[in-house]
Symmetry: none
Subunit: 219 residues, 4 copies
DNA sequence: GATGAATGAGGTTTCATTCAT
DNA sequence: AATGAATGAAACCTCATTCAT
């Protein structure tokens, strides 16, 4: 956690430091990122930095926290507060859309997040022992969908949660490559969801597919 | 490329260096990885390292090449050579299975590969200008499946390719967390494929879903 | 250019660094000189050096600049500002004398300067594209002397400028070998000038020497 | 001195090593020159080098010796063997001409020589305590000229020897800058000699110049 | 005698962090 | 609270020289 001195700073200065840190962590890996660059961009003295933060990791954790917070803000709050009023697929669509919008508008922040995902050691230090929150959230959502009878009961919830989480990241990747997909935002999300929905939803005539997934195992 | 001197080394010594390098690159990012640590772990003099490799990047490229080579070896060669004899979903299953086995047996190597994926600049230096091969490969496979009439024609191939690539990585993630899923290998793959297959396959009565994905857009 | 931090240093410390640098560059070529030796002699931390200077070249350029500055200070300023009031040979004598005094009192500095002269590549990096200033200056001076009628018109100005420049360096050489010449400073200069003056000056009866230099060519 | 093994080498191989060494020492200072580069260019093994030479310095000394030898070869031998049959100025002209030709045809070798001149420490190690041979030679020559009555008796022999040596180097400098002087070789030498001759030669009416050099001292 | 791999000291440079002002 | 100079560990890399084959 940043020290009190940091939070006592005038809003403007604090923001400058945050921006500088995001810039640096967005361009270089945690280990490669330089406090020197941050303080220069923020226009503060090197010594001051250590009066606001314990060390480099302290700053990184703080920034990662901010990112998570900001990402949450992209969610439709009303919807999230009344989750029980929406169907599984409605909620899923909102999650994808908000993730997409966040990534589109904050590509630098996504990069920082991705860095964490693929560096378990770093992840452990920053996020601690807790499981990946996104996976947990999707698991909960899937359980609800299952309970509501929206989902194919043959699906393994844990695995489906992984797939959905992975798709969130795939979504992010699509941002970084201009022109790969020439649909507009909502369409991209809809195409993804079209596949997912078919993959997950309960269908009345599930019987015609036999004891899947075991049936597939024979292929 | 490593220098000739490296390939002239006794097998055992060469392997020790490779192991040391994999250890280091598996634990730290490319930029953070230390030649010093590699030579110490390998039990060679620092100067010797530079008689085997041009520099740190040279070593890294070599290791990445080894990984790609090893990963290829997990594929069922007969199947890949006669791709036209198999259905889309049969091929997909083989790809997932081989990816899964590789990840299961070489978790350290997967980590190094993942590092590349999320560092475009590094990726460019190591792999060169070529696009992500996995995505390209899945695109080709999907086009074939589409031509064979195995797939739902409403699917966007590029987006589906992303999803499948993403799932490959999700699969890898499952390795790192013991006990998250308590199914055995083939079952995990089958559960994933069950979802994917439902998501992608052509179904006779597609009409009952209306002009999806646009139909979904109204949700 | 050294960084501000260097100029903010207490005079004494700054001088210690300069002295250490001069010592090192005086004893070893630029490429061979060791920052390590400089910081040790100056009694500062290695890191500190890089807070004062960009790199080794930065330090070297600075030292060379100091030398040029110091050398200028040996010139009789009044005389240089009113060059038109003096004859060619009076000016030449002042130049030699100042060069001699500088070399006598700063033998280490002369060494560093000489190093530049015989390393065109280094010279180019440090001094830039400009021609050897000394040669240019002597050319100007000779042209003036020619215009004033002080010099033998048969002389080739460019070649004479080279000779004079070379003599400046010869003068410097005499410093390094104690006792080679047992005259005092002014006498050494006067003996040199005696030869030069006879060599260059216009003489009324130049006719009796025939079409020299071609006449000499027959010798 | 190189070891016997070196002299037992086939002529061709020996020459290749010499060429490689000259190339390297011509491009980089002694300290900066790399044995590695020499052995590569010569196509021999690193270990072999140390069977031919004691160390880097041993090679350097040998090369410098070769250069001196080669330079001597440019002198007109007949003339040098019968020095007493020629006048001071005839001999001087031959020396300049041979120096000029040598420099013109072996610019790389001159560079190596110049390196020595401006690094007293290196000079001492390579040439030993002996004085600069060129200066000594010019001193002898001047003494002879003086005895023969060719030279102005007011001249200081030691100083004149320096000037002449310096001019030899100036001559070398002129080689490196194409187009600075647009005369052909002999003309350049003649112009230099014209100045020198006027500067040094005895003139019948020396009286009209008063007690020079002291006369100049009043300027 | 020839080879070339092995060695390790030593060089420049970077940067997080401390500390005196 | 703010500053920024000082520090020194540690990184990459080069190269003369040795030594086993």
């Amino acid at each position: 956690m940043p020290k009190d001195t940091f939070f006592n700073l005038p809003e403007e200065k604090r923001q400058k430091i945050i921006d500088a840190a995001i810039d640096e962590f967005g361009q270089r890996s945690f280990y490669d990122a330089r406090i020197t660059a941050v303080v220069e961009a923020a226009g503060i003295a090197k010594g001051s930095f250590y009066q606001y933060f314990e060390d480099k990791m302290d700053l990184f954790k703080y920034i990662v926290g901010l990112i998570a917070e900001k990402k949450m803000a992209y969610l439709n709050k009303n919807m999230m507060l009344r989750m029980e009023d929406y169907s599984f697929f409605q909620l899923l669509r909102e999650l994808f859309l908000s993730g997409f919008r966040f990534a589109k508008e904050n590509p630098r922040l996504v990069l920082i997040g991705l860095q964490l995902l693929n560096n378990p050691e770093l992840f452990y230090q920053v996020i601690g022992a807790q499981q990946d929150l996104a996976v947990q959230f999707y698991e909960k959502l899937l359980e609800k969908g299952m309970a509501d009878g929206d989902l194919d009961p043959k699906i393994d919830v844990k695995i489906a949660a992984r797939i959905l989480t992975g798709m969130t990241y795939s979504l992010a990747d699509l941002i970084y490559e201009d022109g790969v997909v020439d649909l507009d935002d909502m369409e991209i999300v809809d195409h993804m969801l079209y596949i997912v929905e078919n993959g997950l939803k309960k269908r009345p005539d599930a019987r015609d597919r036999g004891g899947c997934p075991d049936g597939i195992a024979g292929a």
